[in-house]
């Protein structure tokens, strides 16, 4: 016989959860007491509920297992919303347990009451309001099933306080399966469609594989790599898909889209066949006017979510299914196919791509004297970590530089908020990643704007002794906002600078019990980075003073085709 609170924690344990991220409060005190009374499920105390969701999110992205969050009612629940929306946009499996006022106070504007089911509805895959304690095991089972299957996403479980009352106990049994008659995600692709796609793919003269976050989250990276290498076709990854195909391989043409490489965007624009897999033709890829998008291409689109297919760009051959079984079947059919790939056409295609590559769109022009370019920081980070770190990032210029210059060879190493673009994501996400992989190198690439949105998590890092390395590209401004203001608003920097009010990040880090290092000169960049990463047992805040005038290039020209890009402040295609 267990109370509702005990049942919840026991059910989490039975579901395989050993770590949750949360913040206590009135409506979840019974649950926190249940946590206190056991040792199977560990709890990490964050300093803001938003950080709990990002930490759980980072944990989920790095491990593939669902992240779990526990917050109280009212402000606890609403603070979690940004993190839930972040996970929803990037299809991250997450279960968020929120406390609620007692059942008899719901709707009476009770203290710390918020309609969490209503507030979270547009940003969750599904949500449950627990009506009685006996339902807890089945609700937990169903929540995890929904969060992790099909197109993954966050699920909210809202639990009124009296449901977890330690004074009332019930028999407990954890169900083996979650029976949901109205929910049946696809388990494989349509063989006929796959056959059709493979035939078009093998007859292509100028093919390209465009893979996205679905390949990372669906654990399809290895199969994708095998398929691409078997075919010998070029591969581009979306921001969310980085690491799904090894970035250092010769078939990789770089990231595509708004800040993609010249060769990736030109190849897409010129392609006759595009195999889009686990990608959703996001506006940061298609550049808003879809009528100009890849005019000559036959689009083969693999996605687990039927609603992602033909949402913006019409798919000629849609395939609905999880990436692994679809890629397995594609590989089988490619191996069995009698179609001979037109090697001559492919060689000519590669020649063209190599010509685009020669433009070297990511070449870094060093600044004068000791001024550090932000790109050089990422290059140094890549070198110092041997390209093998988990990199979390915030949102802005630094995020794009990290995506462009840290060459991810493995999936789940690049942890960023792609869809929602949530500033403040990086540090708490790093908390989740470092807790999942205590011995790994975890670096948070951030800017002085983003880091201040969840800077309080430095305290969590101290409490949990997490040796995260924070690489702060400090340009004393909201760099991406400023870049847009430079390019589209006549250089009027409306509320994007704050140089005179920045904290001393070194002193700030030290006050939280960490190590702070400031790097101001190019000549000391690599050496000091090495020094920072040599400190294995402590968090190091590396505050790097970078060129405040740098822009991210290439940059897509608004409303243009994929081939239309600014390549520097003075050049465009």
């Amino acid at each position: 016989m267990l109370s509702g609170g005990d049942m919840l924690i026991r059910a989490l344990h039975d579901e395989g959860v050993d770590l949750i991220f949360g913040y206590p409060g009135g409506a979840v005190l019974h649950i926190y007491d249940a946590i206190f009374n056991q040792d199977k499920v560990d709890h990490v105390l964050v300093r803001h509920e938003q950080a709990a969701t990002h930490a759980a999110d980072g944990y989920a992205r790095a491990t593939g297992r669902p992240g779990v969050v526990l917050v109280t009612s009212g402000p606890g629940a609403t603070n979690a919303i940004t993190g839930i929306a972040t996970a929803y946009m990037d299809s991250i499996p997450m279960v968020v347990i929120s406390g609620q006022v007692t059942r008899d106070s719901i709707g009476l504007d009770a203290f710390q009451e918020t309609d969490m089911i209503g507030v979270s509805r547009p940003v969750v895959k599904h949500s449950f309001m627990v009506q009685k304690a006996e339902d807890i095991p089945m609700v937990v089972k169903q929540a995890f099933h929904i969060a992790t299957s099909g197109r993954p996403g966050p699920v909210v479980i809202d639990i009124p306080k009296d449901v977890t009352d330690p004074g009332e106990t019930f028999p407990y049994e954890y169900p083996e399966t979650a029976k949901i008659r109205s929910y049946s995600p696809p388990t494989k692709g349509h063989s006929g469609q796959i056959k059709k796609a493979v035939e078009i793919l093998m007859n292509a003269k100028k093919p390209i594989i465009y893979s996205g976050g679905g390949v990372v989250m669906g654990d399809g990276a290895e199969l994708l790599t095998r398929l691409a290498q078997k075919l010998g076709y070029p591969v581009t990854n979306t921001l969310m898909g980085l690491g799904a195909y090894p970035a250092t391989d010769k078939q990789f043409v770089g990231m595509l889209g708004m800040h993609g490489t010249y060769e990736a965007n030109m190849s897409m624009n010129d392609a006759d066949v595009i195999l889009a897999i686990g990608a959703r033709f996001d506006d940061r890829v298609t550049n808003s006017d879809v009528s100009k998008f890849c005019p000559d291409a036959t689009i083969l689109h693999v996605d687990i979510d039927p609603a992602a297919i033909s949402k913006t760009v019409t798919a000629h051959v849609p395939i609905v299914g999880p990436v692994v079984p679809v890629l397995e079947e594609m590989l089988e059919q490619v191996n069995a196919s009698k179609v001979q790939i037109d090697e001559e056409a492919l060689a000519a295609w590669w020649k063209k791509i190599d010509h685009w590559r020669e433009r070297d769109s990511l070449a870094v022009t060093p600044a004068e004297g000791e001024v550090i370019k932000p790109q050089q920081v990422i290059q140094a980070l890549y070198k110092v970590t041997n390209g093998d770190a988990y990199i979390t990032s915030d949102v802005g210029q630094h995020q794009m530089f990290a995506a462009q210059y840290y060459h991810f060879d493995k999936p789940r190493r690049w942890i960023n908020s792609g869809g929602l673009g949530t500033m403040g994501f990086g540090l708490p996400a790093a908390v989740g990643v470092q807790l999942a992989f205590p011995d790994a190198i975890v670096a948070c690439v951030t800017g002085e704007g983003s880091i201040q949105m969840n800077i309080q998590e430095l305290a969590t890092c101290n409490q949990c002794a997490l040796p995260i390395k924070i690489v702060n590209l400090n340009n004393e401004a909201l760099g991406m906002v400023k870049q847009w203001q430079d390019m589209q608003y006549g250089g009027r920097h409306s509320h994007s600078t704050y140089a005179d009010s920045l904290p001393d990040f070194v002193a700030l880090a030290e006050s939280y019990g960490h190590v702070g290092i400031r790097i101001e000169k190019l000549s000391e960049l690599e050496e000091k980075m090495k020094e920072a990463f040599a400190i294995k047992d402590k968090l190091v805040f590396i505050d790097v003073c970078v060129d405040p005038n740098e822009h991210v290039y290439p940059m897509a020209i608004k409303g243009g085709a994929m081939s239309e890009m600014f390549l520097s402040k003075t050049e465009r295609t």
């Binding site: 089911i117 209503g118 509805r121 547009p122 895959k125 599904h126 949500s127 309001m129 929904i146 949901i180 008659r181 109205s182 929910y183 979510d305 039927p306 609603a307 033909s310 949402k311």
Partner: protein, 163 residues
């Protein structure tokens, strides 16, 4: 184009708000919405009439299908179907108009279900188009109140929407 989508929905608290929320969230139109439990008390049947081109309707159907509480749905307008809506209308009926209103109601096979010395309450069922036609035919009279149920419908023949 106008479409009628029928949905079998889990009869759960909050389920209806997920369906309605989807329409506002994704900028889709709802022209009418009816909902009531079916013979199986765990399932509600919703009928939504909406307007959009084929691409939009395809997206609406796909997104509705993604809602966990949506058990099954069908676009009735894809095939031949029966559509009915109920109208209750209060019309001023005095003097010469009293007979005229009754005559128009008879033509549309409407029933006068309530009478006072100055007005009629008329009940009419039919397709939404027919109800529109009736209201237009009453143009010369004073309409006091209109209550429409929204369209409901089933497919013709042996096609059945059930679990």
């Amino acid at each position: 184009m106008r479409r009628i989508v029928s949905i079998l929905l889990e009869n759960q608290p909050g389920a209806l708000s997920r369906v309605v929320g989807l329409f506002s969230q994704r900028n889709y139109n709802i022209n009418s919405l009816t909902v009531a439990p079916t013979d199986d008390p765990t399932l509600s049947r919703l009928t939504i009439t909406t307007i959009g081109d084929d691409r939009k309707i395809e997206q609406i159907i796909k997104h509705l299908n993604k809602i966990v509480d949506v058990a099954k749905l069908v676009d009735l307008t894809e095939g031949s179907h029966i559509e009915r809506e109920l109208l209750l209308i209060k019309v001023k009926a005095t003097g010469a108009q009293r007979a005229e209103v009754k005559r128009v109601a008879d033509i549309f096979r409407g029933d006068v279900v309530d009478v006072t010395p100055t007005m009629y309450t008329i009940q009419l069922t039919g397709t939404s188009e027919k109800l529109d036609g009736f209201i237009q035919a009453l143009d010369g009279t004073t309409i006091l109140e209109v209550a429409r149920s929204g369209a409901s419908g089933v497919a013709r023949g042996e096609k059945i929407l059930s679990l």
